[in-house]
């Protein structure tokens, strides 16, 4: 242990603001990218589910859904 007390640790020998701001910015960006990736993934999966539900619904009504991978169709994403 390089510090004798918590106060010592937080003060970082007078360099506290600098050390902590650099670490805080790093932590912020790392956490931010994790949260962003998670949010992105959830949203995509929700979108896909909504779409497959819609298609099942169409199929149940006897309408064939237009396949977006075919020509002359606009991708509805």
């Amino acid at each position: 242990m390089a510090f004798s007390s918590l106060n010592d640790f937080l003060a970082m020998g007078g360099h506290g603001p600098y050390v902590w701001s650099a670490w805080a910015m790093t932590l912020l960006l790392l956490l931010g990218s994790v949260l962003h990736a998670r949010h992105e993934r959830r949203q995509l999966i929700r979108q896909l589910q909504r779409r497959s539900r819609r298609e099942r619904h169409h199929a149940a009504q006897g309408r064939t859904p237009r396949s977006p991978s075919r020509v002359g169709d606009i991708n509805d994403t």
Partner: protein, 246 residues
């Protein structure tokens, strides 16, 4: 070997395999970064010259390493995409770029903050910081170029070419900036130039560097998987997955 590469290049196969690897990389990243942080912040001895401000290098150096590595990884992915037309490579390249820019920013920010107690100023035209700043511009350029095309295929190719041009230029830029700096300023000591660090000082650094690399791999895999869902939304296997809610 070839069949392996092409199999890896198939989005479905990649999706399945990466799902198995992901937890390990996330776990490794979390453990390494937590251990490295505690060790580096609380247990490593203070530097005899800089005191405790040197603890910034535990985020500065890994971020700077990663910033450069990600650009190289992006260019290699671009090359793989251009030569073998493997779409996964392009998806990964697209997902890496923002993280690379973020890492460059961390390196710049921590370097600038470190400058206050050391040089007494928020910004020094130090060779390393200048190179990092240019790297940030290169990242912004690649991201902006990719966003500027309306056709995604063209965007992917253009970004790949630019990443390759950039990666050839990075060493040239680095050497010329180093040369420029020594010409204008007798070398003062910078964030990372220090003779023989004791083991207790560089072990946490090594752990942090490894942790950052694991973080990069984990995040890129995760986001590439998302990108697969986005780009292959019309494919049958993606729909099946979506139906199961995975």
């Amino acid at each position: 070997m070839w069949t392996f590469i092409h199999k890896l290049g198939s989005p479905k196969w990649f999706y399945v395999i990466s799902a198995r690897l992901l937890p390990w990389f996330w776990a490794a990243a979390a453990v390494l970064i937590v251990v490295g942080s505690i060790w580096g912040l609380a247990f490593a001895p203070a530097d005899y010259q800089q005191g405790n401000s040197f603890r910034i290098i535990y985020v500065h150096v890994p971020a700077a390493f990663l910033a450069q590595s990600i650009f190289v990884a992006m260019a290699v992915s671009g090359l793989i995409f251009m030569v073998w037309k493997i779409k996964i490579a392009d998806m990964a390249a697209a997902m890496m770029a923002p993280l690379g820019a973020a890492m460059t920013f961390i390196a710049l920010f921590s370097g600038a903050v470190w400058g206050v107690p050391t040089w007494g100023t928020w910004w020094m035209w130090d060779a390393r910081l200048t190179s990092m700043l240019i790297l940030l511009f290169l990242y912004v350029g690649v991201i902006a170029l990719r966003g500027a095309f309306s056709s995604r295929d063209s965007a992917s190719r253009a970004a790949s070419v630019l990443a390759l041009v950039g990666v050839i230029n990075i060493p040239i830029i680095k050497y010329s900036v180093d040369w420029w700096y020594t010409l204008h300023q007798p070398a003062t000591f910078s964030v990372t130039s220090r003779p023989a660090m004791p083991l207790e000082m560089w072990m946490p650094l090594l752990i942090m560097v490894l942790g950052f690399y694991c973080f990069f791999i984990a995040l890129t895999l995760t986001r590439t998987r998302s990108e697969i869902l986005r780009r292959e939304a019309t494919k049958h296997w993606v729909r099946e997955l979506a139906g199961e809610g995975r």
